[in-house]
Symmetry: C2
Subunit: 209 residues, 2 copies
């Protein structure tokens, strides 16, 4: 096995360390965060850190670094209080990836990467029209993580849209059917196919492995 | 498209809401958190919320709900200051899933689910011997999220072990090669296969989509 101690990791070339440490958590969800500012200028950013935080009320979080290209996203969320989370599938993977380029404030990633902004049901932030799972979010809290200057953005789910194929039965979301993909590291995109669904685990239903 | 408003989501049956909201973030990494208490009693918990927080120093986070089966994990981490994160592959997926059963304090999930605890290189917490990517972590900070009573556990990476096939070149982690899998919702496990790696995005290298 390859083995890296903390000191080995510290001594790595910066880009090698970035790639290694960004890869070791496993597969990450591929989502686009859509926002707009008070002047109607839209913004779109690929984010691989969206995480479930609670179901009642439905609460999701994601992490941002404030001083990188994502800063327009954070500014817009604070200005309007709303944002969208949109799943990425294979057809839009390359466009989604290139939203991470450091475009100027006046260049919307929707335009630069040829994705369609969709406003609907009176919601303040733009969805990605091509996405097959779209979530409208209201900012709940912005937590500064002093340890390493990241920000945890916590929001409440206001709307969920799922293409019909992705919602075959109540509570059952079939992400394979809508082609949602995942990310490893900083730059690699993957298709996903189901192995198995296992029953709710209780001490008295442990299988014979 | 299926459409749920906030009020629709509130009105759902509790289990349907749990399944829906746990599914909408996209694919989640499948990791086992290994711990031990001061009496040498080990614990193992499947966690789908591990997230990259920083690379210099290497910092990872995960979310816990304090009053559920994961509480032994949190108690052990606070008692010893150390834990491990271990990737799940298809062969151990079912065993990993059943670590979520509410076993008593005296029953180690390693034993109950037939996974092998591995202590090495003087590290205080047990790795999952079967895992092909193993990470030794030191607790850095425990942040209480007052909004919904979850806990963000932040730690520093002390050791990384990757089976050789998973580390083909400096900084390149091939999670497909070591069979790391991912999770959707509460109970569904998936295999993963690479689509593409895209170059670092700059405003001047946007492709003709």
């Amino acid at each position: 096995m390859a083995h890296f101690t903390k000191s080995d990791i510290n001594d790595l070339d910066r880009l090698i360390r970035l790639s290694l440490v960004n890869s070791i958590t496993g597969y990450k969800p591929a989502n686009l965060i859509g926002t707009v500012n008070g002047d109607g200028l839209t913004n779109l950013a690929i984010i691989s850190s969206v995480v479930h935080m609670g179901s009642d009320p439905a609460t999701l979080g994601f992490f941002m670094r404030p001083m990188v290209t994502e800063r327009h996203t954070m500014e817009n969320i604070q200005e309007t209080g709303f944002y969208t989370i949109n799943h990425v599938h294979e057809t839009i993977a390359e466009k989604a990836h290139f939203t991470s380029a450091d475009f100027s404030r006046e260049e919307s990633e929707f335009d630069m990467c040829q994705l369609q902004a969709e406003f609907k049901d009176g919601f303040a932030a733009p969805y990605v029209s091509e996405s097959r799972v779209q979530i409208g979010m209201q900012l709940a809290e912005k937590m500064d993580i002093s340890l390493n200057k990241t920000i945890l953005v916590i929001g409440y789910v206001e709307h969920i849209y799922i293409q019909d194929a992705g919602y075959p039965a109540p509570g059952v979301v079939d992400l394979n059917a809508v082609g949602t993909i995942c990310i490893s590291g900083l730059d690699t995109y993957h298709n996903v196919s189901k192995i198995a669904t296992f029953p709710y685990a209780r001490p008295n239903n442990i299988p014979e492995f």
